[in-house]
Symmetry: none
Amino acid sequence: MNFNFENLYLINPTDIDDECYIRAVHAEKILDNAKIFSSFEDSIKEIDFLIATSSIESKKDKKHLRNSIVLEEFCKTINEINGKIGLVFGREDYGLFNEEIALCDIMIKIPTSENYQTLNLSHSVGIVLYSLFIKTFSTKQKRSIGRIEKEKMFEKFNLLLNKINYPLHKKENTKIMVRRLLGRAIPSKWEYHTLMGILSKTLEKLKK
Amino acid sequence: MNFNFENLYLINPTDIDDECYIRAVHAEKILDNAKIFSSFEDSIKEIDFLIATSSIESKKDKKHLRNSIVLEEFCKTINEINGKIGLVFGREDYGLFNEEIALCDIMIKIPTSENYQTLNLSHSVGIVLYSLFIKTFSTKQKRSIGRIEKEKMFEKFNLLLNKINYPLHKKENTKIMVRRLLGRAIPSKWEYHTLMGILSKTLEKLKK
């Protein structure tokens, strides 16, 4: 629910008891609507594209079954897939069996440290859903100021450099530095106004 | 351990008991080596760059404290930061307090659905560490300054605010804004020295 996924299919689960609802916190709706199946084959009948997840890759390129693509790479192509997509996660202890992976269209792998490759089920699901979510989420940064405001600020900053007799031979470079710093920081309108306020007050005081 | 992180700092934790070790599975080494502190201030003394994580953003741009950048965007710049980086995660129930966030250089946010914004602590940590792990392949070009230099700069900036009789009720918010701006811009040593030069010259001039 944190990442806008709604449909949970469970295959031969344990009882959905109070513990499950406690863990679901505000996502009980997803538990209520979960579809329960007695076999993997039954659960995938209406799914157009199946994605297996596993941390166990084939060592040899030759073994196609567990040839995987990295989660990040897969996310870039998700929009090209038509129809219902199913993300298949295995058991906490054994993951997915070969017969199950064989029924899937693709296998994805979450990159992990060489020192500890196995993620627990819950974190695997969290990371996969997050990765898919942010590919559909626009990272629009609503904060930046426009060109005119920026130029006004640089003008005021220039006045300050003059007022404090800043060494002439360093001036151009320093002005560029400020431009770069603010370019990286991408100030919001409020940050802009606050900075302008500080500059104005400093210039006023220097006039006296 | 799944994502090559080793150092766990805990502040006023509950007892580290069998339950903790069961949950850690093969990562018990990290629990064994965890450093325990009695206050947040103590824990950050040797950290150069602090990253707060929160799901609660400021609604208004004006409140600098909780102005955040999106996890993905932040990950692109992580390699530019020098020194020890601390990722700060709050309590499972209340997250981080404002006083704690104020001490951090930057706040990051994990994008989530509008319908259910709060992630549990464990998944937040998992997603942040995964995101940083997959970005560590890119070339490193470190530029950032350390904690001591940063504090010196903030001190000088504070002096400036005093000198220009900056309104008291705006001061704290403005100080945090500067911290956030520089947190996002990640100044190099040269940029630091230039900024310090400007501040010093301005303060000198104001003294006269």
